[in-house]
Symmetry: C2
Subunit: 530 residues, 2 copies
Amino acid sequence: MSTSHPPARRPPAPRLDLDEAAAHARRAAVLASVESILGWDEQTMLPPAGGAHRADQVAAVASLAHSLRTDPAQGDRLERLAAAMEGEGEGEGKAEGSDWSADERETVLRLQRDYRKHSRLPARLVEETARACIDGQQAWVDARRRSDWKGFAPKLAHIVALKREQASCQSPDLDPYDSLLDDHEPGARASDVSALFDRLRTSLVPLVRACTGAPHAPIDDVLRGQFPRGAQEVLVRTVAERIGFDFNRGRLDSSEHPFCSTTGPHDCRITTRWDESYLPTALFGVLHEAGHGVYEQGLREEAFGLPAGEAASLGIHESQSRLWENLVGRSLPFWEWCLPLAQTMFPAALSETSPESVQRSLLAVRPSLIRVEADEVTYNLHVMLRFDLERALVRGELAVADLPSAWDDRFEQDFGIRPANAAEGVLQDIHWSAGLIGYFPTYTLGNVYAAQMMAAIERDLPALPMELAAGRFGSLLGWLRERVHHHGRLIDPGRLVAGATGGPISERWLVESLWKRYGAAHGLAQRPPA
Amino acid sequence: MSTSHPPARRPPAPRLDLDEAAAHARRAAVLASVESILGWDEQTMLPPAGGAHRADQVAAVASLAHSLRTDPAQGDRLERLAAAMEGEGEGEGKAEGSDWSADERETVLRLQRDYRKHSRLPARLVEETARACIDGQQAWVDARRRSDWKGFAPKLAHIVALKREQASCQSPDLDPYDSLLDDHEPGARASDVSALFDRLRTSLVPLVRACTGAPHAPIDDVLRGQFPRGAQEVLVRTVAERIGFDFNRGRLDSSEHPFCSTTGPHDCRITTRWDESYLPTALFGVLHEAGHGVYEQGLREEAFGLPAGEAASLGIHESQSRLWENLVGRSLPFWEWCLPLAQTMFPAALSETSPESVQRSLLAVRPSLIRVEADEVTYNLHVMLRFDLERALVRGELAVADLPSAWDDRFEQDFGIRPANAAEGVLQDIHWSAGLIGYFPTYTLGNVYAAQMMAAIERDLPALPMELAAGRFGSLLGWLRERVHHHGRLIDPGRLVAGATGGPISERWLVESLWKRYGAAHGLAQRPPA
């Protein structure tokens, strides 16, 4: 071999490490996106008998993804990078003469945090948890159908034990519940969430009482009637497209429970369900899921698989869906645009109504047993109940065996009604059976963030009501793209919301928004003193 | 550690090797089935912009599958097993005192053959071929649309070079074309195929001439009219289900080109395309694909991922689809059952017709440019042309640059017409651009096998015409299950067909079947001397 050739020009070593670390992270994200396709297909397409083999497929891909995520070579690369960056000291932006931009520093920090978290989990625990959760979900489907708590309880106890072990392994320096919460809402801590929820609750309980006691409460009968499925499809696709969902990079399908699944930077799939006698079922399902979808489609596609191209948290995700669903979809300007369009498709059902009466009918409040059917006001009480109970479970302050009675007691206290059986109580949600603990609070955090963002948007975009009434959603979407979507997960949710809105996270905006809109719809004179 | 416990009871070492080898093969098959889902989704569901990321997903899974298939630990296991089996000597069935059944021996033999074949391929070649084929298919789509041979030729030349390298690597003891043919039709050799095709051609050419010269040739206008898509869906689903396709373990969807994709032992998906003015487009698409589907659904599910649970070859697969499509679907008894059903769905279009006139209209012969639109008789001439040309390419007797003129000359010689451009000539099929060389001959082998099977079936099941006319397909399906499906790929196609039909593979049955059916439909007096 001759050595007389000049050496090839290569990037300096740390730069090369960064390229390779990014390529590695992308490879893991590609496998994760294959898992997403398998999950989407399972819920929309899979033949009835295909479930067992699908579990094998998911387990195989998940195990390969875990191997990639915990590859020691990646750990070493990130270690070297972090050391090289630290050697340069701290600094905002790309300091004069610095080799590293602020985004690059943040990227390495977050990839390293992910790597450490995954690497601390024994493969045995990952596999056992995956199997317990697949098993748990199948057991839950059956248990809910038969309202059979007893058969399900041992499965859940096993899952809770595994999640506690996971919590201690992955973040030994955190309280176990915080460790699980951090998986879904990076940087959030249960003590802060609990304090926020307590303040929110103090304002919500009197609002619920005032609404349910109001003499002229709205009734949600305006959008009941005959709404053939075909015309509904045309309507909801038009709405989704108009608010910014790009069907060139996405799809809309049907499933029992609506969801949004991102299976690649140019492939985001939403679903809804259909009720031919009640228009809001499909329409609000699509507004919600398309809200998730436009967020995913607004992430930087060139950063696929890297923190700059990934969603900030579940709470931020939910803020986007809730903003479109509740703060746009239940507003008068939206119906000033949407109702005439809907009337052309459903003349018989809608010809006699007005935007005002549609909007008011969408603000009915009625305490009810099932979270996913709850109105916007009582919804958060459902979430808080689950947060308190799952936190007690993880802390060992509540035994799985005592969960049904704890649920029913708390429900009666909060809602004044008591579930008649486990199916309409403790067994109603799939989450715990799927190992999703520390997930519920992000629903209400999303509502809090959404209201805080909308208050800032109304300040920043004074012409918004006129634009919405004309079916123009571009400046609203532009605000969200710039202030929220564009940052990916380079910023933790707390700082992201504060930066976008100009103030720290507070429940104040949600409380004001609910009191203003629901108070008016129920003819309440004024907000009573807290 | 105490050693006073009795040792755990473990299977003897070779038995353990067999269990582990089977588990390993299943793991590879699970990954292959994930690739299938990605492929199915690409052709039926993928949003327009999702193509590039899908290629990344497929490449990632394919590369992991290749690593599994070439895992040296599996090679060692199979080596030890083969040695253990050889130590016992040969023997039919499970000889008295033998540890191994005949199926187990055959399983190890075939897994070892697969392992050696895959392991001889350098990872670099596998990756380069995968990329060249993805690239080639995209270039082909574009080239066909613009009928631009020049832009495509270098891509194809690259693919041919890679396939020749693959051929030499994987089976150094075989002629390169045979090596590629063996990938699709295990045990088949081009010299035998060529001799078979020559004999077939000698009989087909006069039949085509006689049909096209017949004074009262059938015209395929009986099934033209108004056939709304919704009613077509009901009809073709009914037909698919009736011939044995199990929708509990499968689906039917739409795609530009019909296909059948198996994505697990309980998940087989077929597609078709729709023409609201011509019923056979969807119906024969479904009969063909459901024929593939009932084969896949008839494989032993407990042997998923092992030779006993996999299709024997592409030729055998095609024999199943062609048998249902042509030998059942174009028969009079089938239409005696199907026409009354179709008439209830399309009364206006079909009320005036009879089973006899439908059946005769389906036997029109017309030389045409496009293989996938060809009738049953001229179809095989399309295949033989491709077989001869691709064989010459691999042997280096024909340069890629000379392919279009070679194609057009041969086409004119065989069909009496000359393609006006590359799109309706050499660019019409996707196969070569996808690296599928040695694949085309399996189409005509499938027709040969199907006719030979049908001759045996008519002998074994004399009541079949009456059963078909009553819409009873169970005894036909049962024959196929027992004689064909049940063997998986434990037997090579040649022996499988011979065992099922009682005689060696011969073109005789196909020639007789075509002459009999098409001769009658065209009013030909008798078969002329060959």
